[in-house]
Each structure stands twice: as C-alpha cells, then as structure tokens.
C-alpha cells in the first residue's frame, strides 16, 4: 500500500510532465487521460479499506516529515476530485491543443489530491501552492490581468496560511495535524495561546481558505479566472479546486474547533467562530447569486454561480452541527458534479459556436441534443429540483439551518435558490431555445470525448439524486455516527423526511401523463425555430430586453445603489496605490545621489549610537 498513495497523488503530475515533453497529438492526450484515470482506479480499489482503517504514508523531504493519509473523510474529497478530474481530461481531449495546458491542468489535479491527503502542514502548503500555481498558469495563458488578480489574492491567502502555520509551529513545535490538534486541545487548560493569537490564527486561516473557496469579499478573482481558462479545465477549477478551500475550513474545525470554542464561546447559542463562517457563506450566496443573474456572458454567469454555490457549503459548515457538515459534504459532491457538468457544457458550446454571450446564441437544442440533455440535467440539479443530487444536498443544508435556529441564514439559502432558478432559466432558454441566429445554423454536436466526460458527470447527478442515501450512508460511516437516517432512497432527519424514490416515481408518472396528453390530446402547430417571437411583445430598440439581452436589466436598475460598490474595483485601487507607492519609494530612496547615500550611512551610525550599541 505504501506506493499507492504516492501514485495516487503524483500520477497526474508525472503524466502532465510527460504529456508536455512529448507534445504530439494523440500521445499527449493518451498520456494525460491515463494520468487522470489512475487516481480513479486507486480510489476505487481503496474504497473498502478506508472505511475501516486509514492508509498511511510518510516520507522525509528536506528535513520535514510529510505525512499522507487516506481516511474515510479525505477519500470522499479525493473521490469527488477524481470524478471531476477524469471528466476534465476527457473534455480537454476535445478542447485543448497544447501540452502546456495538459501539464498545468494535471499539475493542479495533483495539487488538489495532495491537499486532501496531506496530514501535515508542510505537505499541505506545498501542494496547496502547487495547485494555485498550476491553475494560475492555466489562466495566465489567456489573460494576464485576471490571472495576476487570481494569483495575488491566492498568494496573499497562501502567505496568510504560511504565517499561521509558522505561528502554530512556534507554539506547538509540530507541523503534523495530529500533534497540533492534540497540542491545541491540551492548550485549553494550559492557555499558552492567548485569545488574540487564537483570533489571529482564525483570521489567517480563514483568509487562506476563503480566497480559494471564493468567499465574499475575497471572491473577486473567480469570475475572471474561471472564464479565462480553458473551459474543460474550469470544470475542474470550479468543481474540484475550489473545494480545497472548503476542505480547509473543515480542517480548521478539526484542528482548532475546540480551542476557538473555548476562546470565543457561543453567540445566541451558536459557536461564535462558526457563526462568522455561516454568515460569510450566506452573504456569499446572496451577493454572488445576484451578480450571476445580471451577467450577459455565459462563462461569467457560471463563475458567479459557482462562487455562490460554494457559499452554500461554507454556510452549511458554519451551521456547526453534524447535520450541517453532512449537508455541506453532500453539497461538495453535488456542486462538483453539476458545476463540472455545466462547465463542460459551456466548453462544448464555446468549442462548437465560438461565442460566449447570450445575445449571440439561441436554438441550439436541436443542433446539439445530447449536450442539451446534459445541460438540462445540470440545470435541474443546480436549481435544486428533485430528484437530482442538488436537491438532496440543499435540502440537508436547509434542514440543518432550520434545526440550528438560524432563520436568516436559511432565508439566504432560499433567496439563493430563487436567484439560481432565475439565472439557469435564462441559460436554458437563451442558449437552447428560441430564435437561432443564422450563423449558428451549421453548428454540430460536441465531439465524443467531451460527451463522454459530460456523461460521467451527469450520471452521479441522477444516481445520487434518486439514491441520496448512498452518499449520506458514507458520510455517516466517515463520522462514525448516524447523522442522517433512512435508507438508500430516503433521507430521515429529526425535522423531516425526503423520499427521493417516491418523488422520482411521481415525477416520472407525471411526465408520462403529460407526455400522453401531449401526444394524444394537444393540438400542435409546427413552426421552424427561427419563427418564434418575443412572447408576443414588440421589441423597441432603445429598451431592448429579451431573454438573450439585458433580460434582468430592471433588476440591475433596482440594485443600482448596491452595484455602485464593488470589491473588485476596491482591490484594483489598492493595487494601483501600491504600485504608485512603489515608484515613490524607489525614486526617493534610490535617488541616484551619492551624497544622500552617504547620509544613509551616517544615519545608520547615528541610530546605532542612539540605540546604545555604539
């Protein structure tokens, strides 16, 4: 078993390097795909083992002991990443033509797996940085400005984490999770870490993980970075890589939960620190969902949507109850599969049409029927319609929030769901139905590998939707307690029961009846798709609102006051100030005048004298 973990983590990286080195069409794709598939195989093989005992591997690198461990919990995260990873590889076979992209896509895959499996902070930080760097390189290729925004925010996060790690190391003398956890637990009675230091640690780690998860107000990198990478890769970027941030928050609970609880106590019956996380999640959900609604670019829409959906997970973890964790973990899976699927669908649309704006699209359902079906599954799952995976997880999160008496937070979930519906409806209609622009008449169905990739992600959406018990049962085992009851098809919590199978049967029956009515009862009039019009409303040029253009403009006008404030612009301004400051500093210090340089020497001597050392 020793080498299994190493192969699991580093197979994608090695494959990436090989694919980059042998940059020949066919070979590159084959190597890349194999590299992405190896983790899936190993994870499948270890499924039985991890539930009973963990698999460990320790290696000493540069004086640091790196510990990797496959436990029930991180197997789950790794498996989610692996599913999205293999779908990404299939997508990239169709959409990528460069070894460069394969190298960095697979490198980030390695990074994500490594982050999940690390049991010590050095390995965690190393692979975290590797993951950040690799995903940055994917964006750098297309857009310097957006990639740098992403990288700078990520690096600020990573360095915050580094500082946190160093403080923990200084206080506990350890870098591995188990010892740190124990030391922090012991510290409850010793009190070597003060309240201020605990708060500092919390803020540092929250910043680090918040950036990756795209939590408000550190989310500004996400729209640019997600939309400026190869879209097949974005399925992984948004579906799996952002989960590293979520995983980090979970880690924060595991390592520091007791300490933070002891220092900050409770607030209205909730853990204070968790309450902060819950609200960050709730605000992220609302803000990002509103912004998603207002987007005119398909990629931007999903980017904001992705930020919002990860907000759900943060919110769920912030609830702080076991049901909250279960819901959050379930949503990790469902978000990965439906958002991954969305991005692959987007990849297919962009690949086949070359367009990204809603205004240029329409009527594609007929041209790309399979892609459309996949898109529909994703839409249903994202907007939380049973019997899809997205419903089951959101339902659990909602239950958790209600049960924990957090009505406002639960309200954010509701609002977010409504908004999600609003934006996916637009996607559904504007892209697939309605009038087709004449330049899209020759669009073809997406290539086969991409379609297979989509299918790989679509199946879990349905499977875990109809049988959500499969997931909750695993989560129960991972936590070692019965958090969510029921069987494969039924979720039972203290507040309610959701029978997915029953819903499915009713839904299928309903659809069957509707289908029969449609086939035998309704009178239909066949018209070409180019002949639909705007719901009967005449279109005037100066206020041209259609589903494809400025559809939610009235909403934007209503939100005018809020939209004036933008974190993005705020950060840009800070960056500008920093650059100007840099110039001023250089010009005033390195001013080229040797007399002032000599004065610097004199001043240092003076300081030495004043200090009492001279």
């Amino acid at each position: 078993m020793i080498n299994d973990l190493m192969i699991l983590i580093f197979a994608p990286l090695v494959a990436g390097i090989l694919a980059w080195a042998f940059d020949v069409r066919g070979i590159r794709e084959a190597i890349g795909f194999i590299g992405a598939a190896i983790p899936v195989v190993i994870l499948a093989k270890t499924y039985q083992t991890v539930l009973s005992n963990s698999i460990n591997y320790t290696i000493t690198v540069g004086g640091f002991k790196l510990i990797f461990q496959l436990t029930a919990l991180n197997w789950y995260f790794a498996a989610v990443a692996a599913i999205v990873g293999i779908a990404m590889a299939l997508g990239m076979i169709s959409t990528s033509r460069s070894g460069y992209e394969w190298l960095f896509a697979l490198m980030s895959y390695t990074g994500v797996l490594g982050v999940f499996l690390s049991q010590d902070f050095i390995g965690f930080f190393l692979l975290w940085e590797l993951m950040t760097f690799a995903s940055f390189m994917m964006v750098l290729r297309n857009n310097r400005h957006e990639s740098l925004k992403y990288f700078v925010l990520s690096v600020i996060g990573a360095y915050a984490m580094m500082l946190g790690i160093a403080i923990l190391y200084a206080k506990t003398g350890a870098l591995d999770f188990a010892t740190i956890r124990q030391a922090l637990y012991m510290d409850l009675s010793i009190g070597a870490i003060s309240k201020g230091e605990s708060a500092l640690l919390f803020v540092l780690f929250l910043t680090a993980f918040g950036v990756k998860a795209g939590a408000f107000p550190l989310h500004v990198w996400a729209p640019g970075a997600y939309s400026e990478a190869n879209q097949s890769y974005t399925s992984f970027f948004s579906g799996a890589l952002s989960k590293a941030g979520v995983y980090g928050i979970l880690l924060l609970y595991i390592l520091m939960g007791a300490k933070l609880y002891a220092e900050f106590g409770t607030f209205h019956g909730h853990l204070t620190f968790a309450y902060v996380i819950a609200w960050i999640g709730a605000i992220t959900v609302v803000v990002a969902s509103f912004l998603a609604v207002l987007q005119e670019d398909i990629r931007k829409l999903f980017a904001y949507s992705s930020v919002g959906q990860v907000g759900y997970i943060l919110l769920a973890f912030g609830v702080g109850t076991s049901l909250g964790f279960a819901g959050g973990l379930f949503h990790v899976l469902s978000h990965a599969v439906f958002k991954g699927l969305f991005w692959l669908v987007t990849a297919a649309i962009i690949l086949q049409t070359g367009k990204t704006k809603f205004k240029d699209m329409g009527g594609l359902a007929e041209k790309m029927p399979f892609t459309f079906a996949m898109g529909l599954i994703a839409v249903l799952s994202l907007s939380g319609i049973p019997p899809m995976a997205g419903f089951a997880s959101k339902w659990l999160i909602y239950e958790a929030a209600i049960q924990a008496h957090m009505p406002l937070v639960a309200g954010a979930i509701f609002l977010g769901s409504g908004l999600a519906f609003a934006y996916v409806v637009r996607f559904l209609y504007a892209v697939w139905f309605g009038q087709r622009p004449s330049d899209l008449d020759n669009v073809k169905e997406a290539p086969l590998p991409l379609l297979i990739g989509m299918a790989i992600l679509a199946i879990p959406n349905i499977l875990f939707g109809v049988a959500p018990g499969l997931v909750t049962e695993y989560i129960n085992k991972a936590f070692g307690s019965e958090i969510v009851g029921g069987d494969y098809f039924k979720l039972v919590t203290p507040t309610g029961t959701y029978n997915a199978l029953l819903v499915t049967i009713v839904l299928v029956l309903g659809l069957a009846i509707a289908g029969l009515v449609f086939l035998y009862g309704a009178t239909t009039r066949k018209i070409p798709v180019t002949n639909t019009y705007q719901s009967g409303n005449p279109v005037i040029e100066d206020y041209n609102l259609s589903i494809r253009r400025n559809f939610y403009k009235p909403l934007a006008e209503a939100l005018d006051f809020w939209l004036k404030y933008s974190w993005d612009r705020f950060y840009e301004r800070i960056a500008g100030i920093a650059e100007d400051f840099a110039d001023t500093l250089r010009q005033s210090f390195y001013n080229g005048n040797v007399q002032s340089y000599s004065w610097y020497l004199a001043i240092v001597l003076l300081i030495l004298a004043l200090w009492g050392v001279l």
Binding site: T60, V61, G62, G63, I122, F125, L126, L127, E129, L130, F133, F136, L140, R141, R144, S147, L148, F151, V152, V155, I156, Y159, M162, L163, I165, A166, I167, Y169, A170, A578, E579, F581, A582, D583, L585, R586, F589, Y590, G592, V594, S596, Y597, S598, Y600, L601, I603, V604, L605, I607, L608, W611, G612, V613, L614
Partner: protein, 495 residues
C-alpha cells in the same frame, strides 16, 4: 593528501592573477582560455576540499608558514567554507566561459586579472580565520569589484563604480576601526581567540567594536539603507560580473557578518545588534521588492530582487537561532544557484538582443526558447513556487522567523513576496505570451550551463534532502562557536 594543500584555493587564483600579464605577453588570445583553465583547476581543488571536509566531517585548518594560531594566520575551511568555496569556484568557472562570449571591451588581460582577484577575495573572506586577514580579503574583493563595475567604460558604469567606491570605502574604514578596537582590547586578531576572549573585554569597547564591524560588513552585504550602491553597480557591471556579485560576493559579506556576529555572542549588546539587523533586513526586503515592481530594465529588476533575497538571508542569519542560521545558509545556496541562472540568462539576452529592457523580453519564448525557459524556471523559483528549490529555504526561514519571535518581520517579508510574485510573473507573461520574432541561435555551451543550473534547481526542489543536510552542517559550522574554537589549535594563550 595533506590538508595544508587546501591553501591552494587562495594561492592558485592569486598566483594566476599575477601570471596574466605573462600570458598576455606570450599570446593575447590565450588570456581568456587561461582564465577558464585556472577556474577549472579551482573547481578541482575546491571539489577536493569539499570532499575532504564532508567525508572526514572535520574542518581543514591551514596554518600559514606552519605557525600555529594565534601567532600565525590560519585558514578555517569548515563545512560552510568548503561548501561555499566550491560554489564560488563553480560559478566562477561558468562565468569565465560566459565572459568569453560576453566581454568584448579591452583590455581583456586586466579583466581576467580582476576576475581572478574577485574570486580570490570572496574565497578568502569565507575561508580565513583571522579578522585582519578578513579585512584584507574584503578590500581585495571590494577594490576589484569597484574596478570591474566600471569596466564597461560607459558613463553610467563610472558613476556606479564611483558610488560603490564611496560607500564601500566608508564601510570598510569603519570596519577597520572596529578591528582596531577589538585588537586593542583583546590583543589578538585570531577569530577563534577573539571568541574566547569576547566575554572578558570592556563591554563598551566590545559593543562599539562589534557594531562597527557589522556596520562595515552591512555595506558589502547590501543591507538597507546601506545598499544604495547595489542596483547601479549590478546594472552597470559586465554581465558575468553581475552574476558573481549576486551569487557570491554579497554572500561573502553576509557570511563574514554572521561569523563575527556569532563569534562575539558574549558581547552584552549582542541582542540589540541582532534586533537592529533584523529590522534592517526586513526593510531591505520590503524596499527592494517595491523598488523592483515597476522597473523597466530587467537586469536592474533582478538586481533589486537579489537585494531583497539577500535581505531575507540576513533576516534568517540574524535570528540568533540554529534553525535560522541553517535556513539562511540553505537560502544562500539556493539563491546563488537561482540568481546565477537569472543573471546569466538576462545577460545573454542583453548580448544577443542588445538590451535588457522589458521590451527586449517580448516574445523571447519564440526567439530564444532555451534562455527563456531558463529565465522562467529561475523566476518561478525566486517567487517560491513549490518543487523549485527556494520554496524549501523560504519555508524554513518563515518557520524560524516566527519561532524566534519575529512574527511581524515574517508578515512583512511575506507581504513583500507578493510584490515579487507580481513582477516576476509579469515578466514570464511577457516572455511567453506577448510579441514574437525570429528564432535566434543560442550558444550550446551556455545552454548547457543554464540547463545544469535548472536541473540543480529542480533536483533540490523535488528532493531537497541532500542539499538540506549540507546546509545544516554548514549552518552548524557558523552557529556552533564552541566547536569552532575547539577546532582551531590555539597555542596555550588567552583564556
């Protein structure tokens, strides 16, 4: 073989430097090959010394003229010196080859002579066990460095050299006063004996002496605000010389400062000096990184980056803990490799394209792919991306810094590193994703040198164990003063 042959690391470059005019008299064309040959021989000797020290795990003490210290002057080639003498020799060898390509300005024989003396000076500073000898070597280094800075004979070069000379001159004068004070108080110039006696001298004399020594060396070690000469000098010097400045000349100053600092631990104001050094080092990092941000000239930009990295090394060395010194030494090694690679690459671009402004780097990925690749690897390493060597030493420094109680310092350094990431990544974007142009032919041998350095970066990045063990031994050599003293066979004088 007798350890006393290790004196050759000093003797060979010195004697060879004096032979340069003779060689020139024989054939003018033979000067540069001679330089190459001498540096190669130096690599051989340094390699032997390195092997000797690390296999026997004991320092080589060379006693000049057979006189035992403190009567005679001794060289102390411990783990640190052995490692760094080897690095100096290897880099000098590479640069000797690069000089053949890069330096066309006459008089080449003077260049070769100064080149060898620069190498000698840095080697001597690291290897010596005598404080006045240290001063002599420091002056040799500094004076050759002034001359080499001005070697290109442009107005800028002359100005840069002038600044360097003035500031360096002030620094070394104070250094000399420091030596005089220490000598007056202890009656010895031997570093091991000074360490023994440091606790007993008049506290005021000791603290002033220490402060002046450190002040003098801080100018050479490019600590803020004494580093104002550095960007100009780095930019104006011939490309191979810039590499040498960054890779080992500044390191020699740093090492000397660290060595003296730890030898004189017993001085009462020792902790204040450390604190001051930490403050200066942190400011060095911050100011240099910000200065690099909008720099239009890449060579100068990397010069600022080099200064900031040196500040980070100084920070680590001034922490006063074993972990800090180890990390600092590790960073020294990594930085020497990375900056040698970067300045080599940038210098080569300067020669091929006639300039080193940012615009010259547009489309470099297409024009000079190998050089572009080397610069990219170097840049990524400098940023501290994992699986490149600097990642490990940077992490070590951060951990050591917070453990030593300088959380604010680490926070500032990390903040400045964000700035560093920005300008390096902008450069990488410019190299690969902007502009274009015809492909130029690249020198095979220089390419091989760059690839060798790239390979070192990656090997240390992927598997730092060996490099780290070297750094630990070399760090212990600086930090463990008792062992240093006991290793020097002092005649029964003093305490």
């Amino acid at each position: 073989m007798n350890g006393q042959y290790a004196a050759l690391i000093i003797a060979l470059p010195l004697v060879s430097a004096f032979f340069v005019p003779v060689i020139k008299a024989i054939s003018k064309k033979a000067v540069m090959p001679f330089l190459l040959l001498v540096t190669l021989a130096q690599v051989g000797i340094a390699g032997w010394v390195f092997n000797e020290v690390y296999t026997s795990d004991k320092p080589i003490i060379v006693m000049a003229g057979g006189w035992r210290p403190p009567v005679g002057i001794n060289l102390y080639i411990g783990h640190f010196a052995a490692l760094f003498v080897l690095i100096i020799a290897v880099i000098s060898f590479f640069m000797a080859y690069f000089s053949i390509k890069a330096v066309k300005v006459e008089p080449l024989d003077k260049y070769a002579m100064l080149f060898l003396l620069l190498m000698l000076g840095a080697t001597g500073m690291i290897a010596t066990g005598d404080i006045f000898n240290l001063f002599v070597f420091m002056e040799i280094t500094a004076i050759t460095a002034y001359a080499l800075t001005a070697y290109n004979k442009t107005g800028e070069a002359a100005e840069a050299s002038m600044k360097y000379m003035i500031l360096g001159g002030i620094g070394s004068s104070f250094f000399l006063i420091g030596i005089a004070l220490i000598y007056g108080a202890t009656g010895t110039l031997n570093m091991a004996q000074i360490a023994q006696l440091a606790g007993n001298i008049n506290p005021t004399v000791a603290q002033v002496g220490l402060a002046l020594l450190i002040f003098g060396l801080a100018v050479e070690a490019e600590l803020f605000p004494l580093n104002a000469w550095a960007p100009d000098a780095y930019q104006a010097a011939p490309h191979p010389i810039t590499v040498m400045f960054s890779a080992f000349v500044v390191k020699a100053g740093l090492y000397a400062a660290a060595r003296l600092l730890y030898l004189m631990q017993a001085v009462s104001t020792w902790h204040s000096v450390l604190r001051l050094l930490v403050i200066m080092a942190v400011l060095t990092v911050v100011v240099a990184e910000f200065s690099a941000l909008r720099q239009r000239d890449v060579k100068r930009m990397i010069a600022y980056s080099s200064i900031s990295q040196v500040g980070m090394i100084a920070f680590a060395l001034a922490l006063g803990s074993q972990a800090g010194v180890d990390a600092g030494v590790f960073h020294m090694v990594n930085h020497a490799i990375v900056k040698a690679l970067l300045f080599l690459g940038v210098g080569y671009v300067g020669i091929k394209l006639g300039g080193t402004t940012l615009e010259d780097f547009e489309g470099l990925g297409r024009r000079m792919p190998l050089t572009a690749f080397a610069i990219t690897v170097g840049s990524l390493s400098a940023v501290g991306i994992p699986l490149f060597n600097i990642f490990w030493s940077k992490v070590r420094i951060m951990l050591a810094g917070v453990s030593a109680g300088y959380t604010w310092g680490v926070a500032l350094i990390l903040g400045a590193s964000v700035v560093e990431a920005v300008y390096y990544l902008r450069l990488i974007h410019r190299i690969w994703f902007a502009g274009g142009g015809e492909r130029l032919s690249e020198s095979f041998a220089l390419g091989a040198i760059m690839l060798f350095l790239v390979a070192l970066i990656l090997v240390i990045g992927f598997y730092p164990n060996y490099a780290w063990s070297l750094a630990q031994k070399a760090g212990a050599d600086i930090f463990d003063v008792t062992r240093y003293v006991s290793n020097v066979p002092l005649m029964g004088v003093g305490a």
